[in-house]
């Protein structure tokens, strides 16, 4: 279980999404508080400035410098600014050295930076207005609103730190919450692998918590019950037909054979009886193949897996087919890399290779070539059987794998259309991959001898 795996879980993603949503809500709340608070503060300051302006306008201009000094004397916190300037904007009284150049004299309140007369190094943020008193003088009234700036900074810090903390906690909490569901998913994954390998007795685990995973597992388990029952019914119908017909057919064959023996050679009915025996043998071969597929598919043979040396199997298969290839003037070549042994059923793997080689030789015209290769594949040994036959149409590449399917150009070639089904049953039992592809001139049948399905599933 890695961080990367945990971060891909739905629980983690939901927690992360919720954290982002929560952070946005907190930011909106902080913004709203900031907007309301600052708006109210500014309104109060502006109202006070307007009242002071009214008061100053009522005072006689000769008494104004004295009144300004008196007002400043009462301002112990040094947050008020008053100044009186003449027509040429020369300072007369107050704690501002000069009228800010950007301040229009129109009685409107602006937010500006003012430089106090006693502390010119530290300009302060103020709400300020300028108005004319008498025809020649200008009065400037201001109020320090530095607290607003500090409040803005506090809100900004709260936004950054609070948001970051929320996200970090959200991620951590999400990862922690994801562990349990991920463990359960991994358990479900393990059981699914067994089901994929053919063990339809397995069921997904459930807990007493009755959460969403339990609901899903319960539904899938019910579905698996139905699938198992249906498969069993279909399989038993097919098997029973094959099995039940095999016995009377074998007896029928025995009767004909015995009759043939009693007639003696040279009897005119011998040819007809021979044909009857051939037909029965053909039927029995089909039933044997069907039951063989069924036997392989039931997966019980997996228990008998042992170390298998594929080189030996390939050599045996090639030796087995050498005379047939020679009779058809087909060049049968074997190339083997020194691949590592695998776990499997040697007899079944031999049977799979025999079926593929049989097809390759049957479909390759005289004078052609069949190459059997055992190579190092992506994750284990790979068997390639290449022929120089007519090849398989792209549209047929899937359908040739169906039971009893025979492509249009194969009707003249003997066979029942069950060979590849046996190969598929064998490769599936081993969890290997079987595929057909185009060769340079013909077909390439490949068995990838490593657990490809599981690998894909895990990936």
């Amino acid at each position: 279980m890695t961080i990367s795996k945990l971060s891909r879980t739905i629980t983690f993603r939901l927690t992360l999404l919720y954290s982002i949503f929560f952070a946005i809500c907190v930011a909106s709340l902080l913004s709203f508080i900031y907007w309301q608070t600052t708006g109210d503060m500014i309104r109060r300051v502006d109202h006070a400035l307007s009242l002071e302006k009214e008061n100053f306008l009522k005072i006689d201009s000769t008494r104004l410098p004295g009144k300004i000094d008196e007002s400043l004397g009462h301002d112990l916190r040094h947050i008020r600014f008053y100044a009186l300037f003449d027509a040429k904007r020369n300072w007369i009284a107050g704690n501002i050295k000069q009228i800010p150049p950007t301040l229009p004299v129109d009685e409107t309140i602006y937010q500006l930076s003012l430089t106090p007369k006693n502390d010119p190094a530290f300009p302060v943020t103020t709400r300020v207005l300028a108005c004319r008193i008498a025809p020649e003088e200008i009065l400037v009234i201001g109020r320090d609103v530095g607290e607003l700036v500090e409040f803005h900074q506090i809100i900004k810090n709260a936004f950054y730190w609070g948001g970051s903390l929320t996200m970090i906690l959200g991620i951590g909490f999400g990862l922690a919450l994801s562990i349990r569901p991920l463990r359960r998913i991994e358990e479900i994954q393990r059981v699914c692998k067994l089901i994929m390998q053919g063990d339809f007795k397995q069921r997904l685990p459930t807990t007493s918590s009755r959460d969403e995973l339990d609901m899903l597992a319960a539904i899938i388990n019910t579905m698996l019950d139905s699938v198992e029952r249906l498969m069993s019914e279909v399989k038993s119908v097919c098997d029973n037909i094959a099995h039940d017909l095999r016995t009377p057919l074998t007896r029928l064959r025995a009767f004909i054979y015995r009759g043939q023996q009693q007639l003696g050679s040279g009897h005119p009915q011998q040819v007809m009886l021979d044909q009857a025996l051939c037909e029965i043998d053909s039927l029995l071969s089909r039933f044997r193949a069907l039951l063989r597929i069924s036997e392989i598919e039931n997966g019980q043979r997996r228990a008998g897996f042992k170390t298998v040396y594929l080189q030996t199997i390939m050599e045996q298969a090639v030796v087995f087919f050498e005379p047939v290839a020679e009779d058809k003037s087909i060049d049968l070549a074997l190339f083997t890399d020194n691949v590592e042994p695998i776990q499997g059923d040697a007899e079944l793997l031999f049977e799979a290779v025999v079926n593929l080689l049989d097809n390759a030789i049957k479909f390759t015209p005289p004078g052609g070539k069949v190459s059997v290769k055992l190579l190092h594949g992506a994750s284990g040994p790979r068997i390639d059987i290449l022929d120089t036959g007519p090849g398989i149409e792209d549209a047929d590449k899937k359908t040739v794998l169906y039971r009893f399917y025979r492509s249009a150009n194969s009707h003249r070639i003997p066979g029942y259309g069950l060979g590849l089904s046996i190969v598929i049953a064998i490769t599936q039992l081993h969890d290997f991959e079987f595929k057909l592809s185009d060769a340079e001139c013909g077909t390439c049948a490949t068995i990838c001898c490593w657990p490809t399905t599981l690998q894909k599933f895990v990936e």
Partner: protein, 247 residues
């Protein structure tokens, strides 16, 4: 149950055991139709067949050690086939046993052979296949120790030097052909089916579903049956092959 009650009673005896008497086969089989087939086919091949239709009677007869061979069904009423063969081997009775079963999986085959069975045949079976296996088992029983050279008519197979000569002319055989011929020589005069050859030479137990065994035998025949000499390898219609100088 007496065999005389069956519609296909055993034919006159012609096959003999090592003592010169007709070979006696005990068929322990609960299915009447299968028993009929065994009795008829073996009877036609000259065996004297005794039949037991349940495991209890079969066990008693098997322990009497009065038979040259036993065909034994795996699933029987009262006592199953595995118990019978195990009890026989425990008592030191070495009568060859051909196990016959409807169960075809490898585990079942291995279990039966480990318990003491000498060969294994899956139901339903071709009767000539069963008869051929019975003959091979009897021949195996009659062997007088290991031999290094097998001689049949004018054919000589040296198992140590891995050479084959016919009328002092050495034949050039491939390893597969040598193994095929060795098996046929060891079972000289007996019908050998394609399945038996495939099992004996390649060691696998499935139907290869092709005529490849015929092709191998064809090539072997070309090398062994040199023109002008008595042909030794013969095809038995509908069954398999036989190595014999007077077919």
């Amino acid at each position: 149950m007496s065999i005389q009650n069956l519609p296909y009673a055993a034919a006159p005896l012609v096959s003999h055991n090592a003592r010169g008497c007709a070979a006696k086969v005990l068929a322990i089989e609960d299915d009447v139709s299968t028993a009929q087939e065994i009795i008829t086919e073996l009877g036609n091949n000259g065996f004297e067949v005794e039949w037991a239709d349940n495991g209890r009677d079969g066990l008693a007869l098997a322990l009497s050690a009065a038979h040259d061979l036993i065909t034994l069904d795996r699933m029987l009423p009262f006592v199953d086939g595995l118990t019978i063969v195990t009890a026989m081997r425990k008592e030191g009775i070495e009568t060859p046993v051909l196990m016959i079963s409807a169960l075809s999986d490898v585990d079942e085959r291995v279990q039966c052979l480990r318990a003491g069975g000498d060969d294994y045949l899956v139901k339903p079976f071709a009767s000539e296949e069963m008869a051929a296996r019975v003959e091979v088992l009897l021949r195996r029983k009659d062997k007088q120790g290991p031999k290094t050279i097998l001689r049949i008519f004018d054919l000589q197979v040296d198992l140590v030097a891995r050479t084959v000569t016919r009328q002092k002319t050495e034949l050039s055989l491939l390893p597969v052909e040598f193994r095929l011929l060795e098996y046929m020589v060891r079972n000289y005069g007996q019908v050998i089916t394609r399945t038996m050859l495939f099992e004996a030479v390649w060691g696998y137990h499935f139907d290869p579903g092709t005529n490849i065994i015929d092709v191998h035998i064809g090539r072997l025949r070309k090398k062994v049956d040199i023109p002008g000499l008595v042909p030794l390898i013969h095809t038995v219609r509908g069954s398999g092959y036989i190595l014999s100088d007077h077919f």
